[in-house]
């Protein structure tokens, strides 16, 4: 995890360290919640906070839940009650079933405490996109030289 090549104060080193932590924490959280296989995710950081994208094709908006707990973002998905959600009476014969329809919990550890009030989530084209806000006092601030 510790890469001696980078300076300790350099932003690249910090990101590398948090990157490893994010991955490790996520895998541990994932294992403990008992989900078989969680949806895929992307995590990016910028000055305002982070952008988290989760691939959840086929899940309705009301089946998805996002929570923030200190510096951990928790995304939950509910399984479909019925096998066939198209509302048809006749149950089809499934020749192939590869798309996940089950419930899941995915925890994403972030390198800052989450400002839940200013965090926004959007659901489009099967992607849950969360703009996670960092508290204003943690965002970089330019200091003028008098």
């Amino acid at each position: 995890m510790f890469t001696p090549m980078f300076e300790i104060d350099s932003p690249v080193h910090s990101l590398r360290r948090f990157g490893d932590l994010a991955r490790l924490m996520d895998e541990v959280g994932h294992w403990f919640d008992g989900a078989q296989e969680g949806p895929q995710a992307n995590v990016y950081v910028n000055e305002q906070g982070a952008v988290v994208q989760i691939a959840v094709p086929g899940y309705r908006r009301d089946q998805l839940h996002v929570e923030a707990d200190r510096d951990v973002l928790i995304i939950r998905g509910e399984a479909d009650d019925s096998q066939d959600s198209s509302g048809e009476d006749t149950q089809p014969r499934m020749l192939r079933q590869e798309i996940s329809h089950g419930s899941f919990t995915r925890r994403i550890q972030l390198p800052f405490s989450i400002d839940g009030e200013h965090t926004e989530a959007r659901h489009e084209n099967g992607i849950l996109s969360i703009a996670v806000a960092k508290p204003v006092h943690e965002q970089p601030r330019r200091i003028a030289i008098a």
């Binding site: 995710a41 992307n42 094709p57 086929g58 089809p92 084209n125």
Partner: protein
């Protein structure tokens, strides 16, 4: 590894993978659902040729001006082909993309009885 190279690599598309698919058989049609989360519509292609249905699409999700911590589905390229069974009516295929799922409905042809050929 220079920062320049890393930035350039970020823009490339990853390997081509087969998307997860559900296939359901109804009495009068087949319903194929293909998971293409975040796919760009312009990149989506559905082609039916000689009994083979091919679907391809791409997704580019990485936002500008942001450092990646984790990228599992940022640059996707999907392709998958399906062999259509004899009872598929290839003239009646509809495609609809909603909520990250491309849904194809293929009507089944009316039952054809064996054709009798007279011997002269």
């Amino acid at each position: 590894m220079s920062t320049q190279t890393t930035q350039k690599n970020r823009r490339n598309t990853g390997p081509t993978v087969a998307p997860a698919t559900d296939i359901a058989a109804y009495d009068d049609h087949y319903r194929i659902r293909i998971a293409l989360p975040g796919a760009q519509r312009e990149s989506m292609q559905v082609e039916s040729h000689r009994g083979i249905l091919t679907v391809s699409a791409e997704a580019q999700l990485a936002p500008e001006q942001a450092q990646p911590l984790l990228e599992e589905c940022a640059r996707q390229r999907w392709q998958r082909s399906f062999q259509l069974s004899d009872d598929c009516d290839t003239q009646q295929i509809s495609a609809n993309y909603d909520n990250g799922i491309l849904e194809l409905n293929i009507a089944k042809s009316a039952e054809k009885s064996p054709k009798k050929i007279a011997v002269t």
